[in-house]
């Protein structure tokens, strides 16, 4: 297989959302052939540069997926499968990118707050953002405020995503923001909130930086913050 073939197949497998050889994807013809994980490893073995893998296969593939989603050929499960596959590839590439001093798009921590164990939305957001090139740290569910503050202090993520499904736990978001202020950390991290219980108004009320309707919106919001940063 030539380098171009590997890149082309990698891109195709991103479009098909095939993480590994075992994945079914959409096109049955690809069944049993290497998926994104195997092809990423093969690409590295063939000395294809990580940046080239990202730019020519992963990003281009995700762009096609996005187009198919906007024309309703693809649905959310397809987007997630592709994003998850890209996320896996990024995990493989991460040490190499760090060694070459290539920066990721940004570091994003996400947590479902204390008292709330609902995590479907949080997990979807995590998969999509990872697939969009962000470094994602999932802190889990029912996470106490102290643990979040400790993570921010130690790991300095660029963004913090807080999720709450229940109206009883959404108030904890305000508590986290106040704790960030008290710890002198508020300026170091942008706080995004989401979940069925909250709204744009609520984000303003508690002093969050943004409210995200869903995972796709979260990508747009983060990308706009990134653009603002580079300007």
């Amino acid at each position: 297989m030539t380098e171009d073939d590997i890149v082309a197949r990698l891109k195709e497998n991103v479009i098909q959302g095939r993480k590994t050889q075992q994945d079914e994807g959409i096109d049955e013809k690809l069944s049993g052939t290497p998926g994104v994980v195997e092809l990423t490893r093969l690409a590295l073995e063939k000395n294809i540069k990580p940046e080239e893998i990202i730019n020519k296969a992963l990003t281009v593939g995700m762009r096609v997926v996005g187009e198919k989603y906007s024309t309703k050929e693809y649905f959310i499960p397809d987007m997630l499968a592709s994003a998850e596959a890209v996320g896996e590839a990024m995990d493989i590439l991460k040490p190499l990118l760090e060694a070459a001093n290539v920066e990721t798009k940004g570091k994003f921590a996400i947590a479902t707050l204390k008292g709330d164990t609902h995590d479907i939305g949080k997990n979807i957001v995590a998969i999509l953002l990872k697939g969009a090139g962000y470094e994602v740290n999932d802190l889990g569910t029912d996470v106490p405020t102290e643990k979040i503050i400790e993570f921010i202090r130690k790991e300095s993520p660029d963004y913090l995503g807080l999720s709450a499904l229940l109206t009883t736990t959404m108030t904890e978001m305000g508590v986290v923001i106040e704790a960030l202020k008290d710890g002198g950390l508020r300026d170091r991290v942008k706080v995004l909130i989401g979940g069925a219980a909250v709204s744009d108004e609520y984000a303003q009320e508690i002093g969050a930086d943004a409210y995200c309707v869903d995972g796709f919106h979260a990508i747009k919001v983060l990308d706009s913050f990134q653009r603002a940063k580079s300007n």
């Binding site: 994807g25 499960p77 998850e84 479907i120 997990n123 979807i124 998969i127 999932d138």
Partner: protein
Amino acid sequence: MPREGILVPNPYERITDEQVQQIHQASLQILVDPGLICFSKKAAEIFRGNGAEVTTTSSGDNPCWHIKIPEKLVKEALDSAPKTVKLGARNPDNALIMKGDEPRVYFISGSETNIWLDVDFPTYVKKSDNSVEIQVPEFHPRRATVADLCQSAHVCEHLETLDGYIRTVNIQDEDITEDNKDVNKFFASLNNTTKHFMSGLTKLEQLDNVVRMAELIAGGKEALKENPIISFITCLVKSPLQFVEDTTDTFIEVCQRGLPTVVSSSPQAGTTAPIKEAGIMAQINAEVLAGITLGQLVNKGTPLLYGSVPVRARMDTLGDSYGAVETSQYNIDCVQMARFYKIPNYSTSGVCDTKIPGQQASIERLFSDIVVTMSGPQYLHCAYGLLDGNAVFCLLQAVLDDAHFQMLKFFLRPARINQPELNEVLKQIKEVVATPQKLYIRYIRQVMRSGEISLPYPFEGDGESDSVFALAYQRMNELLAKPIEYIAPDTTAKIFQEIPGLLPRLNVYKEGK
């Protein structure tokens, strides 16, 4: 291969076996006492010739006969009536095979309305804010024409869930007369759909012309017998318990030709039938049995459908209330009676009281469509597009109804629970539980594309807007833009040569068209 329809698993039964027997016995009693009044001399003679007690009487100036039908004749008729009836189609793949004891449902249009409802979408501007505009559907009733009939047959051809076409409108063009109505409504419908076509007959004298037309299309007399592309619906018994002269005579002639016919009765609980369920059921069943008996006496083995259009009276107007819950109850009871006799059933649902498409129309239609379908009638006149009882037809409503039936058909698919399926999902559960995200989304994708997942409501708007009518209208126009599989040019030429009274403008091959 005939159309599949939808086989209802474990059909809903409203009445018990004992109640079925009780209705049957009560109907047999009715057929003897009080018996039926018959305004058809031919029918009276047939009954007399076969051992029924027939006495001559009169109703005003009209001669009529009092007929008492003995149980023996009914039993013989039930034995000889075919238990499987085939309704053919121009496209043989659209044929319908109905077995009296199999709850396979076919969804059919109908009935014949005088009014056609046009729709358009004028734009309204908000008084307090001129920048806000909305489009609101407006409905305009007018007399139906033969062009409308062509258009509705065309759309019905392309409605996925619709299995057969009962003529939707009564054609009232200026050049349509009692003498040419039948040939034009049959040709207009048959030329625009390749699905089965059923209709009533306006004039008995036109029967041979429409049968000949069907023979030419089907490929001859024998071919029509093999593939009966047309069938008839005859309300020969007017409730309570009266054989009407013209429709009974038509029925006799159709039976003699061996073409499929619906023996239809439409009593109204409260006026032409008792308001109590037991009463309307005993009477409608007696009326249908009387028709089936006559049909089998005319031509043993002629294919008949047990036709039921029972309805409850509205208390405010004493008009038909198809939207009444009881109307569905009566229809389901009839489905069970027909299944008891193993004779395929023509049943009714989806007819509603409201005059225009909207929330009431959707609620009334969907309610009866669901419950009656669940009982497993074979030929369900579920009235795509029908509004205001039997008075109005709206093509937009027919397109909306198709979406309901897609849901219903999906719902009635058999449950896919078996050991291989369970083995596969147990493996999946194990795999997913071991992942950090614990989501099954990865496994949706192929299933989603295999047709195993129901589609979203096709007329869902964006955000909070209600775009149902606008999207259905768009769909209606898409269907109208689809090609029509017309009858072949040589056959069309023969039809126009042989059949008198056809409107030249219906010939699509005519020069200049």
